[in-house]
Symmetry: D2
Subunit: 298 residues, 4 copies
């Protein structure tokens, strides 16, 4: 297939490369000429604007952009995709944005004759490079069927979450819960150790009991519990605190729009903000445990 790809950053770059590896033909654009040049070297055809990608004869376009403002501009701007793309071309937005914006852009695409799905990802830069991302897809069943083969070249788990916007809904709901659970694990581990228990033994009990969760099993924040986790290498790598903050910001904003209280979710957002304020924005979000154990911080 001939596919357009806009947004070649830390996530989009490796995703586009995986499409090339899978044998697709790519037309790519990014405001950074260096990013475009890198993909061109790998075999993609460079374009000098979103409009140029839209008119390059592509069958589908994928966008991977930082936030809703860029998504609106790239799709809805005077010289944006919808102003130039032929009807029928499939549009896939893998940016993480608020569900309302996703639905607005998809509705505009529909009026333009373009099927569109929101397909935010989880799995981070490691998953992007290894083509093991999870895609949470919002759109009709037919749109999902159309997008799935393309997404499969970049991810392992392609989940249909229901109608337009629901990919974004699933992502913010899941990540809000993740952000809460991580702090819960940080508190439970800190409390248990403060009360005299060995951290590994406590993690073992929790993981075989009703407290178990992804954050206790796969990314336990207590140093030394998991030999290869971020907590055992000074919280470098992993899923950055500031990225978690972005997702919690989307969650609380979406909650406000539908007038749904999210008490622990909003509190978690503030605690990660406090962690970021202490200089931990670029560290894995599990570094939140240092709010509870300042002696661990350097």
């Amino acid at each position: 297939m001939h596919i357009g790809f806009l947004g070649l950053g830390n996530m989009g770059g490796p995703m586009a490369r995986n499409l090339l590896k899978a044998g697709h033909r790519l037309s790519v654009y990014d405001p950074s000429a260096t990013a475009v040049a890198g993909l061109a070297e790998a075999g993609a055809q460079p374009a000098d604007s979103p409009a140029a990608v839209a008119r390059a004869g592509v069958e589908a376009i994928i966008t991977m952009l930082p936030a809703a403002a860029q998504v609106r501009q790239v799709y809805l701007g005077d010289d944006g995709l919808l102003a130039h793309v032929p009807a029928g071309v499939l549009l896939i937005d893998s940016s993480t944005i608020d569900p309302m914006s996703a639905r607005e852009v998809a509705a505009a695409a529909a009026r333009n004759g373009n099927p569109m799905v929101d397909a935010p990802v989880s799995g981070g830069t490691v998953g992007a490079a290894a083509a093991t991302l999870t895609f949470m897809v919002g759109g009709s069943e037919a749109q999902f069927q159309q997008a799935q083969p393309i997404l499969s070249a970049m991810g392992r788990n392609i989940v249909h979450c229901g109608a337009s916007g629901n990919g974004q809904v699933a992502k913010v709901a899941n990540n809000m819960l993740l952000g809460i659970s991580m702090i819960g694990v940080a508190e439970a581990m800190s409390l248990g150790v403060a009360l005299g228990m060995d951290a590994k033994v406590l993690a073992g009990v929790i993981n075989s009991s009703s407290g178990r969760c992804w954050s206790s099993e796969v990314n336990n924040p207590f140093p030394g519990v998991l030999e290869n986790g971020p907590a055992s290498r000074g919280y470098s790598g992993g899923f950055g605190t500031d990225l978690m903050l972005k997702d919690l910001g989307l969650a609380s904003e979406a909650a406000k729009q539908v007038r749904q209280p999210v008490i622990l979710g909003a509190l978690a957002q503030q605690l990660y903000q406090a962690s970021s304020l202490r200089g931990q924005g670029a560290l894995d979000f599990s570094a939140i445990i240092r709010l509870y154990r300042p002696e661990d911080a350097t």
Copy 2:
């Protein structure tokens, strides 16, 4: 073995019966004559005081009492167990109490020449009846080895948590995390559904992603997600809100004693208190979701 058993309530009663079924000989006491009579009918030897149990020639004594005050009285009171039990008899306290009290009583037992472990349980009345409880055991390795065969007649998972008091530590830490996670799941599910997603689809995404936890998988609070869960039968049965409140009270009290902040833990305690205040104290703790979806309440 000849075993003493004190405390024959909703939990202790079925636990004692399982010891009888396993072939042990029992001497039992409870302030309720009815409870004692029930066990006597099942083959146990009734006693009319803790002291009488202590002097009945038992090799071990198990206690299952409501709170630390009763544990202190039964063990340390003027006419309590330690005043009457011969040195060498193994003492097992399966009550859920604060770790400091557990350690004080065990230290008094040691001065009396009695090995003692704290062995609080999880698994509820269903697990007590089916002999599938989890025991979290605090004591030396030798004491754990001594207690294990006895506990095995009442539970399936006997976990050594380290030195004296650590069984209690493991329980309060785990249950604090459980209480937090449940609210996190309640918020994430409520938010996702308010934003237009199907509850079962959302639960499916979460359970295959980084938000997954015991509360999302095994006891999802959203009505209809799990056909046999408390949420699908009006939150009857399960682990009562007021029992969760008791455990969160122990957690925040223990945290206070060791000067460890537990921000989400303390907030969760207050939210379950608010749930209890709305008449949900006897319902499964997952009924907390009604704070977020009052329209679900009858």
Copy 3:
């Protein structure tokens, strides 16, 4: 003076009437023809668009609009005020919006040659009718001096808060604190009464001690403490829960933009959201106490 006034709702309507009473000549616009007709009857000159007000020969224009989106449209839209107003005309925005938007619009006004201040109010519809509002004004000293005589016809307390946007900053900071204090008073009063104390006696002690605040003295949420307060008339009138929610939403959004944690502020927002969810959105914000005393709710 000849003054333009846009936005003739519950607040703007009475404010405009006070300008007329003070002898000013008014040109007015509102999307609601009824609102415009009402002011015309009182002596104002009706206009059929913002542009018409801008070109009516006014010396100053006041806007009182629901949110930032309307402010941006009315000032910056293709047919908005800045496209039509002559340079030099003073612009006063009394809407409550986020500080960043206020600064952007004021910067655009400056480029257009128009001095502009943000001047959000407190005092509610009662203060608007009685001309006793407080205006929190952001702009240069010269701009403040220019705006003050006009604002004095509508309010009693005209406070210069510093440079552009700082009127909005003062309002969101003050109201966030107000929202927190009110919940604090609700909890302290509920706790004291639950522990057996008389509500009026407790309020008296607090008001002569270090817990005293506007919410304990002027708008005590406990029924019966203040004979004429909202709490003694079923929480009708006063400052609505949903208006408090709007201000807390602005506060947490502004905090996010400058990466400042506001832990109690964010939690307060969620608790008022929970209060609104229980049907209390139109009641005075002190009705939050019913979360703590559900028996008071009908």
Copy 4:
């Protein structure tokens, strides 16, 4: 009058001296011989046990002890006050303890024939030295009348809070609100300054508006706003974080006993605990603002 005084620490010592200055005759006891010697030098008659004070022919006894455990021991212990004091002697406990314990001890005193009031104080060591303390008194009207002249020698504001225990209720309720308000002020000030406003101007606006409270006016936590406040001298002096923590612990414990949610109160407790964990336990409680502005910490 001949008065007994037990507990001659940082608070009790200066309080006892003020009784001497007022012309009363004192019999005093403290576990610290140095403390007793100090008072003896000032004219008090030393005693070597609580019992000795009780039998010294006193007309009233005042106790100023660290916590409920000591109050129980001193009054109810085998060799305690109630075992030795003649009926009719007035007992005044100025310790800060939980209301339930206060009521239990007062009930035991009543059975012994002794009128007893709880009379915890606010005003700190400065108020104790200057005889400007506030006393919050729980007991019958007659008991209050009896205690008032004695308390007047040590304080300026003697408030009758209702029946036995209500002095303690008033203190924990007020101080919980104080602890919440202070954090609210810390957040509002931090937010306003982060958004570009001058701290003194913001404090001025708040203090003339609906956010005003004791913490914004008298002990504003932002450095430089109040020239003589703790915030302008590195948070030394004032009301220590760990003392606030003690009071919030009493509040949340009392709330638990009566099953009253205190959401912000419990959260405030955890935040002061986090502040203490960062080494600020001995600083004025307004140092909590450093959680929001870590750059202010040295």
